[in-house]
């Protein structure tokens, strides 16, 4: 058992255990922290597979940006205490049994696949030079389309997250309708 196999097993155990803790933890902040540990171990797997660009991007984008966004949202909502009353124990059991059955079926179906080897530590397709060359030769159009996707996601997040003063403050449907009528009767229509 050489060093890469030991690293593989250690990273796998860390990834699976921390992924389990994401699901088990009661406090959402702890879930976020365990998920960050999972992402770091997956990045370790990428480094082991010599996909160094993806390892760095995984750490920067997932652990650095997305998880901080989750953490900010959780702290903004003040959900750090346990606000999740678990009533139905059978529902949890049914979910666990369904997931376990899926695991069993997939493992049993893929148990006898060919024992092809992946290369660990060699091969330089994961380096940023080669990936960038392929990306900007063959995948230029999807790259540009993804920039448009980012722009639309940004606009969508701003539009959804914007607070409309009379309409979004709760209340019944009748109050909301009255507020909407009031808003539209005092403003020109095309100002919305």
């Amino acid at each position: 058992m050489n060093i890469t196999e030991i690293l593989f097993w250690v990273l796998s155990v860390v990834a699976v255990l921390s992924a389990l803790m994401v699901v088990i933890s009661k406090n959402p902040v702890y879930s976020v922290l365990w998920l960050i540990i999972t992402f770091f171990s997956i990045s370790g797997h990428y480094i082991l597979l010599n996909a160094q660009f993806l390892a760095i991007v995984n750490i920067i984008v997932y652990a650095g940006a997305i998880m901080v966004l989750f953490l900010f949202v959780i702290m903004l909502m003040n959900l750090t205490r346990d606000t999740e009353p678990q009533k139905n124990k059978w529902l949890k059991l049914a979910g666990a049994v369904a997931g376990g059955s899926l695991l069993l079926v997939l493992v049993a179906a893929l148990r006898n696949t060919e024992k092809n080897m992946t290369e660990l530590g060699t091969g330089d397709i994961g380096l940023i030079k080669n990936l960038g060359r392929v990306l900007f030769n063959e995948y230029v159009v999807p790259f540009e389309i993804s920039s448009i996707l980012f722009l639309s996601a940004m606009v969508g997040a701003v539009v959804i997250g914007k607070r409309e003063s009379p309409l979004a403050t709760g209340g019944t449907k009748v109050e909301k309708t009255n507020a909407r009528i009031e808003t539209y009767s005092t403003q020109p229509v095309n100002e919305e």
Partner: protein, 109 residues
């Protein structure tokens, strides 16, 4: 390292994500479990790309780099998805003062 180990690891992570989606009721944790499933698929794609590269490196020097670029695009789409999804969750919390998905089963109002 045989590809089987990577397949089983990715399946395990994916199933943990599915169990989280099915059992938890906090919308943010469900969202995080979706991210976990995306990452399991990413790991499997990278492992398969390295396997393909090992098999075909003699013919094509860049064999297998498509898989890693797909992982890159999945990360891009996941980032966009997270920004919009968290905005939706914040808006739901503002309207209902809860992120429990059992309160959100009526999309009528």
């Amino acid at each position: 390292m045989p590809i089987n180990y990577y397949i089983f690891l990715a399946i395990t992570l994916f199933v943990i994500g599915i169990i989280g989606v099915l059992t938890r009721r906090n919308a943010i944790i469900i969202f995080m479990c979706i991210e976990l499933m995306l990452n399991a698929v990413n790991l499997l794609l990278v492992a398969f790309s390295k396997m393909h590269h090992l098999a075909n490196a003699a013919n094509d020097i860049t064999a297998g780099s498509d898989g890693q670029l797909f992982v890159f695009f999945i990360m891009v789409v996941a980032a966009a998805e997270v920004s919009v999804g968290l905005a939706i969750i914040v808006m739901l919390y503002r309207n209902t003062h809860s992120v429990d998905v059992n309160f959100l089963n009526r999309l009528k109002h």
